[in-house]
């Protein structure tokens, strides 16, 4: 036996890279089909046969950009199945954790992935050369989100402190207090972010979306609520599958979601903002107004501004929760396994995330269904592209590809990683 070391210097790439096929007929875009990589189906199979209590930890691994969302939808679905309700300070702590995720994920999306498009850079690295202070502000904002996640989640990226019924351990008041200083600073950075993104040059692109988001009567919905839309949808989470259908599309590993009655729809910041604007904090609302946003927003490129407004809100809301925090008597409610079915839906930073589980009598998972925001938005992304590409056909090939990537990055940091290498195929028929 021998040993040898070889030097490599290889750049890891996202596999199953994104591809966009555009078909032109008589000078008009007749089709825009997006192929992206997405593997949540693997996790659904992986969850089968496992104990219900494992679901939060397993699902948190699905995405490093929104682990809390996966975890929260999973615990809510399990609690729904087992008939327990998490209230009071435990509920508030979950909301605080979710604020951390919104701050972290939005900051990453805004500064590292999306802003470079508007300013004409290939990525955040190029942008950092000319705008070092701006990139640093983005990183500092992201760090504030991380700080919440690290404290409540047990660690920064894939939190492990969340369990069905509550938390393994809840923080003391003393432990939470230092976060307030961090968050006040973050709120200043968030306000600056709104002003800055509002000044970016935006393509004019109003779209007539069917907007879908959670709505809660008492708060800007994050973790709980009914599923509502701007066209009259108003259903309980448990009725999700009665109104939404997923279908396999051959060209993509991802499933597409449709509303049975209205076909494609939009989830994410634009939907949340437009449906729940009145529930933002007054500071967030004022900032949005100053930035030129109305009470609804349907320009997909302005999602970068809306995300920034949501960061202001998340900082505000996190500060409120910390201020009102009283240490709960126990860290979790105990659940008793039983044969059951449960549903959970939360607002991941990039949109509605639905989970459904069926359990056997001892709490084993018989079936898991996970519908990520990307699957729900994909038909809408294609519709955006189909609408917009027609106006860009005279652009040089590289510029056209960049515009398409930017359009995709309006939606999602995860797929946008894949679409940094978007293969664009324009076919004339």
């Amino acid at each position: 036996m021998g040993r040898k070391t070889i030097k490599v210097d290889y750049l890891a790439r996202v596999e199953g890279e994104g591809a966009l096929n555009v078909t032109i007929r008589d000078g008009q875009v007749s089709k825009a089909e997006l192929r992206i990589f997405e593997p949540p189906r693997f996790f659904e199979a992986f969850l089968r046969g496992r104990d219900y209590a494992e679901a939060p930890d397993v699902t948190a691994r699905i995405c490093g950009i929104c682990p809390v969302a996966y975890q929260m939808s999973a615990v809510h679905a399990m609690e729904n199945a087992l008939g327990i309700e998490v209230e009071g300070q435990l509920r508030a702590l979950r909301r605080l954790l979710y604020c951390g995720e919104w701050i972290e994920s939005h900051a990453l999306h805004i500064y590292m992935l999306h802003a470079p498009d508007f300013l004409g850079y290939a990525g955040a690295v190029d942008m950092a050369r000319d705008y070092p202070d701006i990139v640093k502000r983005g990183l500092s904002l992201k760090k504030a989100g991380n700080a919440i996640m690290a404290l409540l989640g047990g660690r920064e990226i894939h939190p492990i402190n969340v369990r069905v019924g509550g938390f393994y351990r809840t923080p003391t008041r003393k432990e939470l207090e230092p976060l307030a200083e961090t968050l006040k600073q973050a709120r200043e950075n968030a306000l600056a972010t709104v002003r800055w993104t509002a000044g970016l040059e935006m393509p004019e692109a109003e779209r007539d979306y069917h907007l879908v988001a959670l709505h809660h009567p008492g708060e800007y919905a994050m973790n709980v609520g009914r599923i509502v839309s701007n066209r009259g949808l108003d259903i309980a989470v448990a009725d999700y599958n009665r109104h939404f259908v997923e279908s396999h599309v051959q060209r993509s590993t991802a499933l597409h979601s449709h509303l049975r009655e209205h076909d494609c729809y939009l989830v994410g910041p634009l939907a949340r903002y437009s449906l729940n604007h009145g529930q933002l904090s007054s500071l967030a609302r004022e900032t949005a107004k100053e930035a030129g946003l109305g009470v609804t927003c349907t320009n997909p490129f302005q999602s970068i501004v809306v995300r920034s407004v949501e960061v202001v809100y998340a900082c505000d809301e996190a500060l409120r929760i910390i201020d009102e925090y009283r240490e709960p008597e126990r860290p979790f409610e105990l659940a008793e396994p039983k044969a059951s079915e449960g549903f959970g839906c939360t607002e991941a930073p990039r949109g509605l995330l639905f989970h459904r589980y069926r359990l056997d009598a001892s709490g084993g998972i018989l079936e898991a269904q996970i519908v990520p925001p990307t699957a729900q938005n994909q038909p809408s992304i294609e519709a955006d592209l189909k609408d917009l590409v027609g106006g860009w056909l005279d652009l040089p090939a590289d510029t056209l590809r960049e515009r398409c990537e930017q359009t995709i990055r309006n939606y999602d940091p995860c797929i946008s990683c894949a679409t940094h290498f978007l293969k664009l195929d324009v076919r004339h028929e």
Binding site: M1, G2, R3
Partner: protein, 93 residues
């Protein structure tokens, strides 16, 4: 979810190199994480363990270097830097 795809790709690369060198298994994998790649060493390790199961890199030690230089030309990337391989012959270090 891109990290799953990223780490899978890295492991494919490791497997190819391992086969090219006629090596039995990988003893150590050295990677470099850029300041803006959005992966902590812990997070990377989780994904690596998950994806490496059943491959020649299953037992590999990870040596992870993290950069905090946001101006590095590869700050958004993950780099595979070197591999230590166990070979059948006496190839030496």
């Amino acid at each position: 979810m891109h990290e799953t795809a990223l780490v899978k790709n890295l492991i494919h690369r490791v497997e190819t190199l391992c086969a090219d060198e006629n090596a039995e298994r990988v003893v150590e994998v050295a990677v470099w994480l850029g300041a803006l790649c959005h992966m902590s060493p812990e997070h990377f390790t989780d994904h690596f363990r998950q994806e490496a199961a059943g491959t020649c890199a299953e037992q590999a030690q990870l040596r992870i270097e993290t950069s905090d230089d946001i101006n590095h030309p590869q700050a958004q990337d993950v780099l595979l830097q070197s591999l230590e391989l166990e070979t059948e012959d006496e190839a030496g270090p």
